[in-house]
Symmetry: C2
Subunit: 319 residues, 2 copies
């Protein structure tokens, strides 16, 4: 049977949440070439949000992708397709070219469960412009069942190609993933599914494998795991472990050797105790991220006491 | 239903393979107290091999455990039981006290499949002296099925309490583990099972959970994963994730905060690319460990080429 899995490398997009997208053009080009040689099917090269709608004062090419800029830096597409993520309320339709005029192949729409209607409007717009689309419902671990059922009634009528299971907080284990995948498959039999994991409990790779073995075909990852807080499933692990003749791990190893070790010295992501704790508690990592930027960064017991104390809620800590 | 899982923390024993057992007495005492407060059932405090049989020229108290020394440093046992590992051909029966005169509760016997007969002789000796015993068959991923079947014929007649599935090379994934556990259970219905994992592919925790969910009750781990090469399943993850009222993660966090961060600066273990590669290739990590001690330590592509080249076998590299 043909292996229909597809890897979407999110190093630039999710990794940008670590370093405010402080990536050089030559790094992004090296990554694109490496992923193409490795047989990785997609590279998410950033966000396609509107700088105007976000009141941006600084240029940030990977956060506000521009088609002319993309054509300049990737004048010739290789094996790997390009995708971009957008957020609800941050897209300016005037920024969007039809697919045949763009370097981008896929647009992924991130939304919370309460915004699925708005997400599907964007899906329709991008779909009509010719793009492949996905809907990435964030913070799934906190979504009540009945809201999911309601949302899926709309989703299954939409033209969206892929629906993602997103473990935003890194709080799910392989049994949870299996349960979610079965639910998604039963409720959305006409859609392809995707998985986006975080590594708070060192389960990102295992969760991705579990999803794959239960029929999920779009697998998100990042080279050396670079992504917000605990980071993502590692691209090099997927490429080496999944049986697909086109995958080659060596080009990914080269990117790690030439770039990622140095970047990991400069910026922090991965299995770090406060992120493990926030994952276990099914909480957004923002409180832990703030803590890691404070002088108390390594006071794990103090952090644990703060976030589990009944008097001080996790949200008050983040102020 | 009562949770019958037991955690065996191997920080000193397997971690000693990282730093030649360069642990201070006060660290080992802090660890013992922390594990007791955390509700961890066993602590493997080292090897009980004979310095004479190993021609040791230097004292190494955690490698050559001595009952008098143990009584001195742990004058009062708390919650956590103590275990020691022994290797075939390295045990001097004259070194071994009956259990009631020893601080040790359990002796675990490590052996390769070809030595199971010798392993079971040691099991019998330690069992007759009153110890709990386990048989840890190493390098399971390279054992042919028929050898396992033959060995198990002997094992099931022996008085051994626990038989371990040991993923020495960190090469197994959760599906492999499930398959092995089912085989072990079918062939050894009268024995408890144990699991010892390595984290080469970031699967140590997931593999341990998979084993547990399939009926394995003895779960090996190390605080902050400290163990040879890629290290082990993390004790803090098991204690926080497994539902058992007696488990408390905070004492383990304290040990990490006070000791492990500094130790990780000084010594290396964990997810490191050459170990990932050796795990993927189902090879002993010794070649990767030698590489990490050379000037080429971060030349991942070069390492990959060397260990996958048909001309230079992995064993010739280790010379």
């Amino acid at each position: 049977m043909e292996n229909r899995n597809k890897i979407i490398d999110c190093t630039i997009r999710d990794g940008g949440l670590v370093n405010n997208w402080d990536f050089s053009v030559s790094f992004v080009q090296d990554l694109y070439n490496g992923l193409s040689e490795a047989g990785v099917e997609y590279m998410e090269i950033g966000y396609k949000n509107s700088p105007k709608l976000l009141n941006a004062t600084e240029p940030n090419p990977w956060r506000f992708l521009d088609d002319n800029f993309l054509k300049e830096i990737i004048p010739e597409k290789k094996f790997t397709k390009l995708s971009a993520l957008v957020d609800i309320g941050r897209v300016d339709p005037n920024d969007i070219l039809p697919r045949e005029q763009s370097v981008l192949d896929m647009i992924r729409i991130a939304c919370y469960i309460r915004e699925v209607d708005k997400g599907l409007e964007l899906v329709k717009m991008f779909h009509d412009l010719g793009y492949e689309t996905s809907l990435n419902i964030m913070a799934l671990s906190s979504v009540p069942e009945h809201q999911l059922i309601e949302a899926f009634e709309m989703v299954k009528e939409s033209p969206v190609d892929v629906v993602y299971i997103v473990d935003s907080f890194g709080s799910l284990d392989p049994m949870d993933i299996e349960h979610q995948v079965k639910k998604f498959k039963a409720m959305l039999p006409n859609k392809q599914l995707g998985i986006h994991t975080h590594n708070n409990m060192q389960l990102a790779f295992a969760n991705t494998l579990t999803a794959m073995r239960n029929g999920v075909s779009f697998l998100d990852s990042s080279v050396y795991g670079m992504g917000r807080a605990a980071g993502n499933c590692h691209t090099e692990l997927l490429v080496t472990h999944i049986q697909k003749p086109s995958y080659e791990v060596k080009p990914v190893l080269r990117v790690i050797e030439e770039h990622m070790l140095e970047m990991r010295q400069k910026w922090e992501w991965g299995y770090i105790i406060p992120y493990m704790i926030s994952g276990t508690l099914n909480e957004h990592p923002r409180v832990a991220m703030a803590y890691r930027n404070s002088d108390d960064r390594d006071k794990f017991v103090d952090f644990y006491d703060k976030v589990t104390s009944p008097e001080s809620s996790i949200s008050s800590l983040s102020k």
